[in-house]
Symmetry: C2
Subunit: 433 residues, 2 copies
């Protein structure tokens, strides 16, 4: 298909939704992607590019001539245009922007000037705003005649001459009201304004908390500058959850389409931190070299204590990190939750102490060894519970994302406490020196 037949390509993609076109692009070989876009010409809807992974999108955009990109970007709603442009480097951005008419260019530039991941980057600058003294009839006629309306909208903003937001009127309210009524009588106060400089995560929380479909975005002087809609917010929620999962798993912001070298590099720091942890644990074991030599059963059993602690700590930490991210852990319940984790840790500690103690006695026939490993198990599961909840809380207080760092800290604690308590108890109990 690739080799030249423009008619066929257009006919084939014509009826497809932009997400499906995106999926086709993804499945193609790297050099076929820009080729297909150029073949389609203006039949290609640039919205499809917003459905791709960042790495692929940048790759394709860099291959395409800047006039083609400028053409394509002009057709988009401003939020999609910004989404496509924001990952390019400054020089490429300027080259493309230079070929866009000045009104649109200024709007795009303003959005791009807001910080990365801010509400200003995600908003669309197309919206409908009317003065309060208009009637419903005037508003409807205006909408019937206006040319460059956004594709989708759910409310009309009401503003004063200085572009300050007075309130909103929902479309269904407008539809159900007689034409001579004044807009001023319908307007409902806009409670949940989003600031353009606000973090997109903050904006997403406002949407979720108040079940919003769209919200007005205002600048520092409270002037209306854009509109944020829930479909953009859905992407933000998904992205943030994805980020949390990957951080907990010790990987950065990698995507399935990333290159080997990028991935190896991004995973290295986490493995290196883990190595430091493992070396510390190994150092603790080294303190008991003589005891291990005298009683090799200790070497066989010690990983069990450390591993159960690591697992229990990860459980507590996962719940804590999630609760912090969802703002469910606050002053009103933090003590209760810490207390609860402590009780759960002790309970599971005693149960597993009994199981493991019995197994150790059975395996090695040394009765006292059962008590030593049981005591170490209880202590390590309590340490796991406390570490699992206190470390994320402390990191959060220090303004470090608990999802990034908690994991290594928690397993460091459970490894050290696990090996030290087990080997230490054994040394004392059996009088090994």
């Amino acid at each position: 298909i690739e080799s030249g037949n423009q008619e066929r390509a257009r006919a084939l993609t014509e009826d497809l939704h932009e997400s499906d076109v995106g999926a086709i692009l993804e499945a193609l070989e790297p050099d076929q992607r820009p080729a297909l876009i150029q073949l389609l010409g203006d039949a290609f809807d640039f919205t499809a590019l917003t459905e791709l992974d960042e790495a692929l999108r940048v790759e394709i955009l860099e291959e395409l001539p800047s006039e083609t990109v400028a053409e394509g970007v002009r057709e988009l709603d401003s939020d999609d245009a910004v989404y496509i442009l924001e990952d390019l480097d400054k020089a490429d951005q300027d080259e493309i922007l230079a070929q866009i008419p000045s009104v649109e260019r200024l709007a795009l530039k303003r959005s791009l000037d807001y910080p990365e991941d801010s509400a200003g980057r995600r908003m669309q600058t197309e919206f409908i705003a009317v003065p309060p003294f208009w009637t419903v009839g005037q508003t409807i006629d205006y909408m019937r005649e206006a040319e460059d309306l956004p594709e989708e909208f759910h409310e009309v903003f009401v503003i004063d001459p200085g572009y300050h937001l007075l309130g909103t009127v929902s479309l269904n309210r407008l539809l159900r009201t007689k034409r001579p009524i004044k807009i001023a009588d319908l307007v409902s106060e806009a409670h949940h304004l989003i600031r353009a400089t606000e973090d997109q995560e903050e904006a997403a929380r406002t949407f979720q908390r108040y079940n919003l479909i769209s919200a007005a975005v205002v600048d520092e002087s409270d002037r209306l500058v854009g509109l944020l809609t829930i479909d953009d917010i859905v992407d933000v929620i998904q992205e943030e959850a994805d980020e949390d999962i990957k951080r907990l798993g010790g990987v950065g912001d990698e995507e399935v389409s990333d290159k080997v070298w990028y991935i190896a590099k991004s995973r290295f720091p986490w493995l290196f931190i883990n190595l430091i942890t493992a070396v510390m644990a190994s150092f603790v074991i080294g303190l008991f070299e003589h005891q291990l030599q005298k009683m090799v059963a200790l070497a066989v059993l010690m990983p069990i204590v450390a591993s159960q602690g690591g697992n229990a700590g990860t459980q507590t930490m996962t719940v804590a990190v999630r609760a912090i991210a969802m703002r469910e852990l606050g002053p009103h319940n933090v003590l209760r939750v810490i207390g609860r984790e402590l009780v759960v840790g002790m309970f599971n500690g005693f149960v597993f102490a009994a199981i493991v103690g019995a197994m150790a006695v059975y395996r090695f026939g040394i009765f006292d060894l059962g008590f030593v490993i049981a005591a170490a198990m209880v202590i390590n599961l309590i340490a796991a519970a406390l570490g699992g909840i206190l470390i994320p809380l402390a990191l959060n207080r220090l303004k470090i994302d608990p999802a990034v760092a908690s994991s290594s800290f928690v397993t460091t604690i459970t490894d050290l406490v696990g090996f030290f308590s087990f080997l230490g108890f054994a040394a004392l109990w059996f009088g090994l020196t």
Copy 2:
């Protein structure tokens, strides 16, 4: 405030959004919660209950008299009503439903009859449907007069006399069209229908993929039965991401407000599975008891090999599990991704082999020990890479959620391979028996 002053309580909560009322309920003592709701009487909006954790909601609902709940539920949109009722046990549900007028009762019952977590449970049954031969004017007049319209809606459905969906008309299309035009001329085909029996996760993916705001829900015979809106979908996306994170961390569906006993019980199985893993690892170590006695340095170093493998395996697995959940891993790229993980594993394997080998030589002064641990490290990081990607893929093929089970399998592999390769190489190399 609690002790009796109805006027004050009403005045205080009057202007609050339902989410804020929900937050107040959460902060109160358990027995004050139903007390406040009864005090507020019909000034209490039951929507606030949808903002609470499941455990709290059920607790409150069981305390309230069933007439109060029935009253409150009647005021809600059907999707919120179902959300509140679905967690109650059958007897309580029936008691409440019995006190709701029959039309509404039937609608609620039908929604509750759909399987848990299906689109049918999440849809609202209030929607606007008109025949295609109506004009825009008739439709607008109908909407102006209709009493029990949903609070929010964004499109009008067009149906035939048998309630089969012919298509949809968006409100803004309706607003911008002159009154005498026929609905039939405006209707756009509804591409993305949701089946009522479909899983809510599936529905959420359709919404995300096609950036929908609302979609029609149809039954087995393609009749229109409800409307799914994006605000419900946002909750689904959040829930599913939350579930994935918790499963990867080895915890069930617990919430911050759950009781100690419930949590201890739900975490126990994961810890037990981990114990089996740890005992298997310990068994492998036990095979080398004699060698460990002769060369205690092996006991000191062995956790490093296992721990690095576990970490690298978790990294690969996190990316794989996420990619599977987001449907980003398919036949077209699975071989490439496996190859990539293998290369990354080998690369990081060699780097860490060099570091750890050098450290081992420095610490114990045995030159050959460096080579032994280096070889074991390379092998274990390759095993981690393969396990991290192949295990989630295999579980997915077997229709088991990879987020639940992958973690234990992957660490089992890296523990066994790590201990076995390191101790085995050492035994061979140094001729220990």
